[in-house]
């Protein structure tokens, strides 16, 4: 490494030894950042330091330079770890680029069109924990007056999950409109997943279908998080669940189908466990926290509601998502 570095180091060190003032430590530390950027190893730093001390201190006991030689030997492996780090950082960067492209491909592959139904306000938000999501929202192409949505979560996240998602999408695309009552959809998707995916990969899915003519919401669930129904007239929340195994476990599964009627101001929040199983530093969040968060913003639009829930939960877990986060709200609102 260049001679001037050693000279400059000696200058700062000398000033510090003379004054022991904070400003010299600050200068030294800023200098050390440059050392790291220039890939100067810690063993080089010790050697520079040794030379500086030898030149600076009169009557230096011989033990001191020997001790520095020993320290240099000790530092070699630290230096190697640092070099490995620098090469790993480069690798990591390449990997990030690949994931960014993959995320873009995923976005395009999984794009879905939000239905536009009189009297139904729809809000949705899906935020991946990492670049690639294993959660999935899909609005089925439906006849007029209907809005159907699938909310799914592949067990596990990241790339394997993304591969599964694209399979589900093409499975759902192959469905005909006639089959689109919730328990039938889950049955068909289950067969596809069971056939194509290896045994370690499971998918939970909630499927809901809203009929604007009579305000009936039909739903089935394949081992998915229950949805939450808010009854505006009573100011209470009701869990919407339906019996059914996870997708991909076995071939023939009977999926229960239930229904509720929405009244003005009622809404249904469909979520993945990335919403309900948020962990803060103190542990899992309280079961009723989501309800209280939704309650607080119940008079806003569906989109404002999901945005607000996300913002609050993100803050609570210190901006670190541990799982993909997905929430869809269907809200009956005659003004829409």
């Amino acid at each position: 490494m260049p001679r001037e570095v050693g000279e400059q180091y000696k200058k700062i060190l000398k000033k510090y030894i003379t004054n022991q003032s904070e400003v010299d430590l600050y200068a030294g530390q800023n200098f050390s950042k440059q050392f790291i950027e220039k890939e100067i190893s810690p063993e080089d730093l010790i050697s520079i330091h040794k030379t500086a001390v030898e030149e600076m201190v009169a009557n230096l006991p011989t033990e001191v330079p020997h001790s520095f030689d020993f320290l240099i030997e000790m530092m070699i492996h630290y230096g190697l770890a640092l070099k490995e780090h620098q090469s790993l950082l480069k690798k990591q960067e390449e990997h990030e680029t690949e994931l960014t492209i993959a995320a873009k491909v995923q976005d395009t592959l999984l794009k879905t069109k939000i239905p536009n139904i009189k009297g139904l306000d729809i809000g949705l938000l899906s935020v991946p924990a990492e670049k690639i999501s294993g959660d999935y929202i899909y609005f089925m192409d439906e006849k007029e007056n209907f809005a159907s949505v699938a909310v799914a979560d592949v067990i596990g996240k990241g790339i394997p999950a993304a591969l599964c998602m694209s399979m589900i999408k093409f499975g759902m695309d192959s469905l005909h409109n006639g089959e689109s009552c919730p328990h039938n959809v889950l049955d068909v998707v289950n067969r596809i997943v069971e056939k194509s995916v290896d045994d370690s990969m499971f998918i939970s899915m909630f499927y809901g279908k809203y009929d604007a003519r009579n305000s009936v919401f039909l739903y089935s669930s394949a081992g998915h998080e229950p949805a939450l129904l808010y009854k505006a007239s009573k100011g209470i929340f009701i869990k919407l669940d339906a019996k059914g195994l996870l997708l991909g476990v076995k071939k023939n599964v009977i999926y229960e189908e239930n229904s509720v009627v929405l009244e003005e101001g009622d809404f249904i929040a469909m979520m993945t466990d990335g919403v309900t199983e948020v962990r803060t530093e103190e542990g899992f969040i309280d079961e009723f926290l989501i309800e209280s968060l939704l309650s607080k913003v119940k008079d806003n639009t569906a989109q404002q509601m999901v945005d607000s829930v996300f913002k609050e939960l993100e803050q609570m877990q210190n901006f670190e998502l541990r799982d993909d986060f997905t929430i869809v709200i269907f809200k009956k609102d005659e003004k829409v």
């Binding site: 600050y26 950042k33 790291i36 210190n318």
Partner: protein, 133 residues
């Protein structure tokens, strides 16, 4: 909270003043030399961030004690632009300061506790704590 003192950050000299205050406080309540250096470095990074990205702000240092354990709480406040993507700033290898290992993840690693509040257009408050072992 027992005692408190603070340094306003306007110039690079104030970064040094904040470091000095932090080191003195750390020494006073019994931190060893390496932990003194770690606390000082954390303060240095926070103060430097204020100086570089918010323009002005303040470093507050308080002694705390919990269940008989002494500790130091450092709060860095600014009314700067805020951090639009906190997750990115907290990621390894994406340090705003450019250096390896430094930046916010570095500050977090140097201390025992770390919390960050920020709002775009309003400002940022970072609170860090270290306990005497």
């Amino acid at each position: 909270m027992n005692q408190g003192s603070s340094v306003d950050i306007y110039t690079e000299w104030d970064i040094v003043a904040a470091r000095q205050l932090g080191r003195n406080e750390a020494k006073k309540i019994g931190f060893g030399i390496v932990d003194q250096a770690r606390i000082t470095t954390a303060i240095s990074e926070l103060a430097r961030n204020i100086y570089l990205y918010a323009g002005t702000g303040r470093i507050e240092i308080e002694q705390v004690s919990e269940n008989g354990v002494q500790g130091l709480v450092i709060i860095a406040r600014d009314n700067g632009p805020g951090i639009p993507d906190v997750r990115k700033v907290m990621e390894d290898g994406f340090t705003t300061s450019g250096g390896l290992g430094a930046g916010m993840p570095g500050v977090r690693r140097l201390m025992d506790a770390f919390s960050l509040e920020t709002e775009v257009g309003v400002g940022t408050t970072i609170t860090i704590t270290k306990w005497v072992r």
